[in-house]
């Protein structure tokens, strides 16, 4: 027997042994079913009260009318039809989609570029990643309040002063219906890009670098190496991150709420803001639940379709 055969036999024996051992442990714990029940109590209670329960309750609530004092009343599809006929809904849906699209166009390529670049910086890479992650460390609410000040529409606002140095502006930023949404997306990108770049950076560690050598023998330039080797090897994580970003942006609340409260002239009114207003301004919990249900269903369909469409490219 050669050496490698011996190793193989040992490995098999070890695996068999350990699987028998696993079996023994499992058998022992079969007799510990009562202990398992006790240990499962916290998770079951927590999820019943704060996850499964609310999900079921939300479904029911979409078909009820309640004012939190009297017993809820069944109203069938009234909530849904009320929400769907709200004249603000198309506006909010378009705004939300516009936000998601802008965030994708502005915010998506930035972290990929940053990660690929940081990965090339051998000695100073840590400095880049620390700097890039810094905005993600700031509490979002504090960051939003700061940026709100930066976006001051007067000539003395920070951005207007800075742009004034190169002869641009002053811009109205959050006060203009056209610029408010891109301004919010810009802040959200600034806040999120670093953290996303760190995730891509970790993924870049698994790119097979032998392929770069192969490409160089074929005289591929740097740009072609990025496009044909780096990006394709990252595509799984890129696809997942893109979906998560979409789902995240559709549920964004603090940014539009604190920056503009939905204004000016409803230019930044999103679906999440509508849900908030239904429930906690108008006190119409049924309508809020119905709109949440519609948004959640839409997101489920979105991720289902997304996975179907992208299945061909991944794996």
């Amino acid at each position: 027997m050669s050496r490698s055969d011996v190793v193989k036999v040992l490995e098999v024996a070890d695996r068999r042994h350990s699987s028998r051992r696993d079996g023994a442990v499992r058998r022992w714990f079969r007799s510990t079913e009562p202990a398992a029940i006790i240990f499962a109590v916290p998770v079951v209670l927590c999820f019943v009260y704060f996850s499964w329960g609310p999900i079921v309750r939300g479904l029911l609530l979409s078909f009820q009318r309640t004012n939190l004092v009297q017993a809820p009343q069944w109203v069938g599809l009234d909530n849904l039809s009320y929400v769907l006929s709200d004249p603000l809904l198309p506006k909010a849906a378009l705004n939300t989609a516009w936000f998601a699209l802008l965030a994708l166009v502005i915010g998506f390529p930035v972290p990929i570029f940053l990660a690929v670049f940081m990965n090339e910086m051998r000695r100073t890479g840590w400095l880049y990643s620390a700097l890039a992650y810094l905005p993600a460390v700031l509490p979002p609410v504090a960051a939003i309040l700061l940026w709100k000040f930066f976006y001051d529409p007067g000539a003395g606002g920070i951005f207007n002063t800075l742009l004034g140095f190169v002869g641009l502006g002053p811009f109205p930023w959050l006060n203009s219906t056209a610029m408010a949404m891109p301004a919010i997306v810009l802040e959200a990108t600034w806040a999120g890009a670093g953290a996303t770049a760190i995730i891509y950076l970790a993924a870049l560690g698994s790119v097979q670098t032998e392929l770069y050598e192969a490409a160089e023998i074929d005289r591929a330039g740097i740009w072609r190496k990025v496009w044909h080797i780096t990006i394709p090897q990252l595509r799984n994580i890129i696809l997942v991150m893109m979906l998560l970003q979409l789902i995240g942006t559709f549920q964004l609340f603090a940014e539009p709420f604190l920056f503009t409260g939905g204004g000016p002239d409803n230019a930044t009114l999103t679906i999440m803001l509508m849900i908030y207003q239904y429930a906690f301004v108008n006190g119409d919990f049924g309508a809020a639940a119905a709109l949440s249900l519609i948004l959640a269903l839409f997101l489920c369909v979105l991720s289902g379709v997304y996975q179907l469409v992208t299945r061909r490219w991944s794996d």
Binding site: D22, W28, E33, A35, A36, A40, V41, P42, V43, F47, Y49, F50, W52, G53, P54, I55, L61, E120, L127, L131, A132, Y133, L134, P135, V137, L138, P139, P140, V141, A143, L145, G156, I158, T161, I198, I199, A202, A203, S206, E216, V226, I229, T230, I237, V240, M241, L244, Q245, I247, G248, F253, A279, F285, A288, A289, L295, A296, L299, C300, S303
Partner: protein
């Protein structure tokens, strides 16, 4: 983004393996040594380095420095000369006033209380759950883990309103958690993502440890306490870090369930202040709020970045 969004599954083990290999062999990246030697590449690379580094410094440090500067300026200076250094002197009194008079210190204390409580609940629930799902493996374990995992795929928005109702009046118990930290602590336990990463972590612990403890006559509680817990230190660290970040970040939920200003965490107190306090005090409060996480980050930078990369790989 919302607090607990699942992150990609693809890269984790391979990424970490690859990362380790890179450190050992100083492996090449995208650019080959001959690429780096070419003058055009070198010039472009240096230019890009300057641009990217400049951008990162401006975007990463700029706002913090500006907040620090404005925190000790007069309101008048902030408005009339936002980009110059203290035309009318430095006013450290702003910080003291923000800390005591508008009670930023209290709000920060509340945030810490929220973070500590949420971390403890989350750890307690996910460790016991992971112990059941990964080690004890009862027959109904599959159903339980399936039901926990299913919640990961539902968008968080669907539970916002009914969760508020639940907290307003807990079913069966008829207690209201409004204005109590429990309204933030308890829902933190129902976090499928934390259960999942803890279970994965427990799955990786060799069964021989448990067998050894069992031969020594340890029962299930003893195994959890003396074998699993000491081994779980890394995952406990990551989860504590994530909870702390989450407590600083969460806005909508504490806004809804803690209307009492004395109990509000900093994320809710800050926007409320911005409507009443004068500008200089306001920016002093903003600066105090960002100072703590920034200092923590600078101290624990490696753990932060590793935690983000790791959970980024494991999530989902």
């Amino acid at each position: 983004m919302t607090t607990n969004i699942a992150r990609p599954r693809a890269a984790s083990p391979a990424a970490r393996r690859g990362g380790k290999k890179r450190e050992e062999q100083n492996e090449r990246g995208l650019l080959s040594d001959s690429d780096r030697g070419r003058p055009t590449v070198r010039v472009v690379l240096i230019c890009m380095q300057i641009i990217v580094l400049g951008g990162l410094v401006l975007g990463g440090i700029g706002p913090i420095v500006w907040a620090a500067k404005s925190a000790v300026s007069t309101s008048n200076d902030i408005l009339s000369a936002p980009l110059s250094w203290w035309p009318s002197g430095i006013h450290f009194g702003n910080l003291a006033e923000a800390w005591t008079r508008v009670r930023i210190g209290k709000a920060l204390g509340n945030t810490v209380a929220v973070a500590v409580g949420s971390t403890l609940t989350s750890l307690f629930v996910s460790i016991t759950a992971a112990y059941v799902l990964s080690i004890l493996q009862p027959r109904w374990g599959k159903i339980l883990s399936g039901m926990v995992l299913a919640t990961l795929f539902l968008p968080g928005v669907i539970t916002l309103v009914p969760l508020y109702q639940t907290v307003l009046k807990l079913p069966l118990l008829n207690i209201s958690l409004l204005n109590s930290f429990w309204a933030l602590w308890l829902p933190a336990g129902a976090n499928a993502f934390n259960v999942l990463i803890t279970k994965r972590f427990f799955d990786g612990i060799p069964k021989s440890f448990i067998e050894a403890a069992r031969i020594d006559g340890a029962g299930p509680i003893r195994v959890l306490w003396s074998v699993m817990l000491p081994l779980s230190r890394p995952i406990i660290g990551v989860m504590a870090l994530l909870s702390l970040i989450g407590a600083f970040k969460d806005y909508l939920w504490p806004l809804l369930v803690i209307p009492n200003p004395d109990k509000q965490p900093i994320s809710v107190a800050l926007p409320r202040l911005s409507q009443s306090a004068e500008l200089s005090i306001n920016l002093a409060a903003v600066f105090l709020t960002i100072a703590i996480p920034v200092v923590l980050f600078l101290i624990f930078q490696r753990q932060f970045l590793r935690g983000v990369a790791m959970t980024g790989g494991v999530k989902g």
